[in-house]
Each structure stands twice: as C-alpha cells, then as structure tokens.
Symmetry: C2
Subunit: 275 residues, 2 copies
DNA sequence: TAGTGGTCTAGACCACTTC
DNA sequence: AAGTGGTCTAGACCACTAA
C-alpha cells in the first residue's frame, strides 16, 4: 500500500496526480518528473498508459519532454508586457536610429542583430491586407516579414504590408536588414510626411498551425496570439497593416483608455459642424 | 494501390492528411471525418494508431469527437468582436436599466435571464485583487462571479471584485440576480457618485486548467484568454477589479488609440504646473 | 443492437541523451 | 552502453450513440 489505492487508476488519474504535484510546487518549474518506468511501477500500469498521461499534460501546456532526456515541468517565464507606450513617438521622431539603438543598449537589454531576421518581398495582397490598405485584392503590396528572437528563441513573427506607392525606393523595402523594432519603420513614414498618428489593434488566440509550430519552435500545448494592427496618419490614410503571431506564454497586452461617451461625442461633433 | 503508398505511414502522416482535407474544404466545418475503421483499412494500421492521429487533431483544435458519435471538423463560429465601445457611458448613464435591456432586445439579440448566472460572496482578497483595489491581502472583498452563455453554451466567466466600503448595501451585492452586462454594475457606481472614467485591460492566453475546462465546457485544443480589467474614477479611485476567462475561439478584442507622445505630454504637464 | 470512439494491456522496436 | 521517451501492433473490453 503506497497510499495510492483509493481511486481508479488510469491515464487521467496519473495526469491529475502529476498536475497536482506541479501546482503544489512539489515539482518546481523546470523540475524533472519521475521517469516512465518509475510511474509504471508506482501505478501498476503499462508504459503506454503512463505515456498517455504525460501526453495529456503536454497538451495542457504543463510539461515538455525530450526524447531520451526526461519530462520536465514547464518554466513560466515572466510575461513581457506590451503596452501602448511601445509606440511612443519620442522613440522614432525625436531620436535618430543610432540613439534609438543606443537607448536599448543602455536600458540593459542587449541589442543583437541576429535577434531579428527580415525579408522584404512584393506579394499579391491577401483579402485582409487589401481591405486594410485600400488596394484591390491580389494587387502587389510590399510584405516585410520579421522573425524575432529573445536569447536565440523565437518569440514572435511580424509581417507588415505597405502600399508600394508609399514605400517604393525607401530603405523600408531595401533588402538590407534595417534597424529592429517598429521605430525603424515609423521613422521612415515620418520622414515621408506620413507621420503615424493612431492605430487599431485586434487580438485573438488559437492553437498554432503546423507551420507556426515549426517557425516559432512551439512546444506542445502552446497557443498563439494573433495580433492585427492597422496604422493611420492623422488624416486616416492607412500606412501599414501588420499581422503578428506570438507565443502566448511570453506576452501580455495592456491597454489603458477612457470610457467612450457617444452622447457627448455626438454633441461635440454637432457643435463643431455648426461653427 | 489506393494512391497512398508514397510516404511513411503512421499517426502523424494520417493527421497531416486529414488536416489537409479539412483545410482544403474537402471536409467542411462541422463535417464528419471517416470512421476509425475506415481509416484503419485505408492506411493499413491499427485502430490505436488512427486514434493517435485523431488525438493530435483534437489537441490542435481542428476536430471534436463524441464517443459513439463520430469525429467532426470543428465549426469556426464568427468571432464576437469586443471593442472599447462596449463600455459606452450612454449605455448605463443616460438610459435606465429597462431601456438598456429593451435596446438589447431591439437589436436582435435575445435577452435571456438564464444566459447569465451570478453569485456574490465575501472572500479574502487574492494578492492581485488586493493590489488592484488597494486593500490588504486577505482582507474581505466582494466577489461577484458570472458565467455567461450564448445559446446555452458557456462563453466566458467574469468575476468582479469590489471594496466593501464602496458597495456594501447596494443592489450590486444583493444576491438576487441583477441585470446582465457591465452596464448594470457601472450604473450602480454612477449613482454612488463613483462614475467610471477610465480603465486598464490586460490580456494573455494559455491552455485552460481542468476546472476551466469543466465550467466552460471547453473542447480539447481550446485555449482561453484571460482578461484582467481595472476600472477607475476620474480621480483614480479603483472601483472594480475584474478577471474574465474567455473561450478563445469565440472572441476577438479590438483597441483603437492615438500613438502616445511622451515628449509632448511632458511638455504639457510642465506647462500646466507653471500656470 | 450494431457501430462508433475511448481505454488499457503486453510486448517489440526505435531514436535520442547521458554517462 | 544503459536508460530515457516515442511509435506501433494485436487484441480485449468498455461507454456511448443512433437507428
């Protein structure tokens, strides 16, 4: 009697037990779970059954495993908080690129050229991109795709779409990799007298496609967050439509805003029209 | 030779094939996949192997299965877009509750009392809730928990936390279920001269816990989006801290904002201080 | 009741990691 | 080389659904 003879055994039971051990801290994040053989003996089941139990935990995002290695409770790295301040105009308007990079270095984060790979191509506009940019579906638009890494590990992809008439000939679509971050792109628009003024972000989450699993090297049980961003100038010209695919466990998004007041807004609008 | 003798068989292969059939539209959303036995024959493998293939698709959120029923490609219901306008002051300030409900009915959506269950309790404040509300951790706060359904199916939970000093004795913490939606709660604060003015929303996504799977009746392979909302009055008093758990496949979040400009904001602030 | 998916056993074999 | 997790077979049995 190993004090384990109260409930029906089986994969679900084993998974629940292990999960409890992880949540209680008995097995700390990054810690090793018992080996398959040990669990086989402990629960008196087949290796296959144990494997099924582990599988459930993997799909729930609770553990990862390496063949030949072992099974480990997943680390919960602190979420990188993405706030609206990341688009601060000061970052790309007032400082030049070098200063911008210098700032990143000074702030303790390493700036590493290899942290971001970039490819620029002319592609036929998807339905979404076409609608956002206000061009016919299938017409050529520039696609600037980046894969961003943190300490070597991919964290997200970001693909920006531009109207060729806006960016043709600028360094934005120069195949030579430019400066990292949105600052780089926004600076270019600023210099083109297309200063970014406001934007719209749309978020949703889902399980990744096999392609996404591969490019982002996602562990089993890791969802992705899809971010669709449209950037406008003050006169509502769309200068960029961007789609990002983010590893869910690495980010959180933060938005602060005043509650809208349609009644007052309408009144103000009417007033403005009269004057 | 059924034209299926080119690549190594196995669960992954079968899963890939089925996935391709779903994505190509060969099997439409909601459509039935071949039975296990049919796939066994087609691929010349064991039922167990086919089951493993299906398992992968389930964990990827691509299919669902009912024991005794069959395996079906998952429906992709249109995402309900949640924008900042859902907090429009007009909804809870200018109209009374009845009008608010009438409006929902008129707009074509059914208002059904059973769409939302509600429980109100005094609970010790969690660390997060305490920090947000500015009370000591573990001190009593009101927790108002709702489970929201759409056509009978749970879509999300939402738990609001309040300072007892704010809401004690109001209908907000009356155990009788009140009106649905944030409008109901905000109206109460408005009447208490604690008018909601601005808020902060934080989003992240992850796989659900077993409890969440149960209360939201989540299919395998369905992530959740966690929404943490803090609501302030104009003088920065926190009146509500709320946590929502959403089925990822049912919602998208939408935010529109002006790009911040710390340089100008600082200048304005300095000016104001001088005057 | 026939057909469906779900769980488990028993055991072979493979791929990878660690020492 | 020994130990780890991963895949697959073969077959028994169970639980649920639909006609």
């Amino acid at each position: 009697m190993t004090a384990k003879d109260k409930k029906p055994p089986g994969a679900q039971r084993i998974a629940d037990d292990l999960r409890a051990e992880i949540e209680s801290g008995e097995i700390e994040p990054g810690g090793k779970l018992p080996t398959t053989r040990q669990l086989v003996e402990k629960y008196g089941v087949t290796p296959e059954t144990v494997r099924q139990a582990i599988l459930r935990l993997k799909n729930a995002g609770a553990v990862t495993s390496r063949q030949g290695g072992g099974v480990y409770a997943r680390n919960r790295p602190p979420l990188k908080r993405l706030g609206m301040q990341r688009y601060d105009k000061a970052k790309w308007r007032d400082s030049d690129e070098v200063a911008f990079i210098a700032d990143r270095v000074a702030s303790g984060r390493e700036y590493n050229r290899t942290d971001q790979t970039q490819t620029v191509k002319l592609v036929p506009a998807s339905r979404e991109a076409a609608a956002a940019l206000g061009v016919p579906e299938g017409s050529d638009v520039y696609a600037r795709a980046r894969l961003v890494r943190e300490k070597g590990e991919p964290t997200h992809t970001l693909t920006s779409y531009y109207r060729p008439s806006h960016v043709e000939g600028t360094r934005l679509v120069d195949p030579t990799p430019g400066p990292a971050g949105a600052g780089g792109g926004f600076r270019v628009f600023y210099e083109l007298s297309l200063e970014p003024d406001h934007m719209n972000e749309e978020l949703c989450a889902r399980m990744p496609t096999p392609t996404e699993v591969e490019t982002l090297q996602l562990p089993q049980g890791e969802p992705v967050v899809v971010l669709k961003r449209t950037t406008y100038t003050a006169d509502d010209t769309v200068i960029e439509y961007a789609v990002g695919i983010h590893c869910a466990s690495r980010f959180s998004w933060n938005y602060s805003f005043k509650l809208p007041d349609s009644a007052r807004d309408n009144a103000e609008r009417a007033e403005r029209q009269e004057s």
